[in-house]
């Protein structure tokens, strides 16, 4: 069953076509990879799915409803979590608070109950805290809960972003270059983490440059080049696709 359908989507910036009639379908429960050279439109597609951009034309459907043009927070609320290529953490908040902000749409406590410290709000707070700690455990940061997010090393910041995105209990998780800047061990751990996330019932769509990561973990892969989708298929098919080799993978594979 399709969880995300991108139908004939184009995105134009001041006369420049960043995406040109791209269509693709992500099935529920799979790990879907999006690859392509720099400037191919991968991040643009992410921004478009998450509502930061409004598509110039075309439609985006998520779980059977059109989400094109919805505000970003609405898209987060309907169940799409994301991370950013150039990490966007709340640097001066604690690691735990970063995840707790991610739980914003899951919890419901409002201004009045928060100010008055009603028993109900206190209870919600406790639940939020426990769930957030569980997520920190998932990404291996449970011992860093009180540190400031900005003080974490790079690899841990990437994992914290994943925990924050998971906090909104998404059914689809968008990861924008999750392995960037990680060393070999960290990459191994990342692969384990992404598989665990999938086991939790979350569909994963990821942009990644590291071919080992992509070929290793993805069920299916789409290739973008100059804003166009030039191929789609299993890792095996992509590896052997002459067009992909020519424009992106080069001769070494």
């Amino acid at each position: 069953m399709a969880i995300l359908e991108i139908k004939n989507v184009s995105q134009e910036f001041g006369g420049l076509l960043a995406l040109d009639r791209v269509s693709m379908t992500v099935e529920k429960g799979e790990i879907f990879g999006l690859i392509g050279p720099n400037g191919a439109g991968k991040t643009t597609l992410f921004n478009l799915i998450t509502g930061i951009y409004r598509p110039s034309s075309g439609e985006v459907w998520f779980q059977g409803r059109s989400i094109g043009g919805l505000r970003p927070y609405r898209i987060a609320t309907v169940g799409i979590g994301r991370t950013f290529q150039n990490i966007r953490l709340f640097k001066k908040l604690s690691v735990l608070d970063n995840v707790r902000v991610g739980m914003h749409s899951v919890s419901r406590a409002g201004f009045v109950s928060a100010m008055l410290h009603t028993p109900w709000a206190v209870k919600r707070e406790k639940v939020t805290c426990e769930k957030s700690m569980a997520l920190l455990k998932l990404v291996g940061l449970e011992n860093k809960a009180i540190e400031l997010a900005g003080s974490l090393p790079y690899g841990e910041q990437r994992r914290l972003e994943i925990a924050r995105a998971m906090a909104l209990e998404p059914s689809l998780l968008l990861l924008d270059e999750p392995a960037a800047g990680m060393n070999a061990t960290e990459k191994e751990e990342l692969l384990v983490l992404i598989r665990r996330i999938r086991e939790m019932g979350v569909t994963v769509l990821l942009v990644e440059h590291d071919m080992n990561v992509v070929m290793n973990i993805c069920d299916r892969i789409a290739v973008l080049d100059y804003g166009r989708k030039i191929a789609e298929g299993t890792p095996e098919e992509i590896k052997n696709n002459p067009r992909v080799i020519e424009s992106y993978l080069g001769v070494e594979l």
Partner: protein, 300 residues
């Protein structure tokens, strides 16, 4: 209570204490907008004047009871805040700074030309209902409510907007709504502060709420620490007392203010207590004690 305090405290000291209390209410409101949510408002005195005039006019011309005037002052200021906030806060960037300056200026010009507000002469003979007990009672209530807010779900959402608006949206925070609500609460407090001010000095005029006053409140928030309640209170206490201490160099006061802002931003951009966390203080303390324990045990 008031009489009891007056027996023991010098009237001049008491006066400063009351002003500190009023300023804390004002500054906490601005802290919520600028320090916590990161939206620069530079017309806080404008909202204060709306509160002050609303309260003064209601009690002078319509004989309304003080409590009613106080509440109406807060609500009127908040209403103006929402009116200004909705078109401005949906934009990213520094538009709010300019719009609030402009709005405060419009408000000042309107009061300057309004018969019911006494035009340039202002209003005098406002009932002196503000006193120490009332102001500090309110300060305590407001600090408690504010602290409750800041360490809960909506408070964290406000901080997240300051840190990264795009990431906040991606985490499910309706940033426009939260910015407007923060602005409404902040301007409500400015209205309350204005009402208390009017009923304390018993005389107000448009000059009391000029741009420099807005800058003073901004200074209090910035000096103490953006986003921190203890920081804001510290900044307010320092900047309310300092001019009294520096009375003999009155002319240089603003020169000092200006230089202070630049220096602070360069060397401590988050203010004195802005990035000091209670938990870090405790940890440092534990480490120091741990070290001294370790050294004493190795001695023995």
């Amino acid at each position: 209570m008031e009489a009891f305090i007056l027996q023991y405290v010098d009237i001049y000291v008491l006066q400063i204490m009351v002003l500190i209390g009023i300023n804390i209410i004002m500054a906490l409101g601005l802290n919520l907008i600028t320090g916590v949510t990161g939206q620069l408002s530079m017309g806080h005195a404008g909202f204060m004047s709306i509160g002050a005039y609303t309260s003064a006019i209601l009690s002078l011309h319509y004989g309304m009871p003080f409590w009613f005037c106080l509440a109406a002052a807060g609500l009127m200021a908040a209403l103006a805040g929402v009116f200004i906030g909705i078109p401005t806060l949906r934009l990213e960037g520094d538009y709010l700074a300019m719009v609030t300056i402009g709005f405060a200026e419009i408000v000042r010009v309107v009061f300057l030309n309004l018969d019911i507000a006494g035009r340039g002469m202002g209003l005098s003979g406002i009932p002196a209902t503000t006193n120490f007990t009332l102001v500090w009672g309110l300060v305590i209530v407001i600090v408690l409510l504010n602290a409750g807010l800041l360490k809960s779900r909506p408070g964290r959402a406000l901080y997240s907007i300051r840190e990264d608006e795009i990431a906040a949206e991606a985490s499910g925070v309706n940033t426009t709504l939260y910015k407007v609500v923060a602005f409404a609460i902040g301007t409500f407090l400015a209205g309350i502060g204005g009402s208390l001010y009017a009923h304390y000095l018993t005389y107000i005029s448009p000059q009391d709420f000029d741009f420099m006053r807005s800058v003073e409140y901004l200074n209090m928030v910035v000096l103490g620490g953006m986003g921190s309640i203890p920081g804001t209170i510290l900044g307010t206490v320092i900047l309310t007392i300092l001019p009294e201490v520096l009375r003999f160099v009155q002319d240089y006061r603003l020169l000092f203010y200006g230089a202070l802002l630049v220096t602070l931003m360069i060397f401590r951009p988050n203010g004195l207590l802005g990035d000091v966390r209670w938990i870090d203080v405790k940890r440092t303390w534990a480490r120091i004690r741990g070290q001294s324990l370790a050294s004493s045990s190795s001695d023995s």
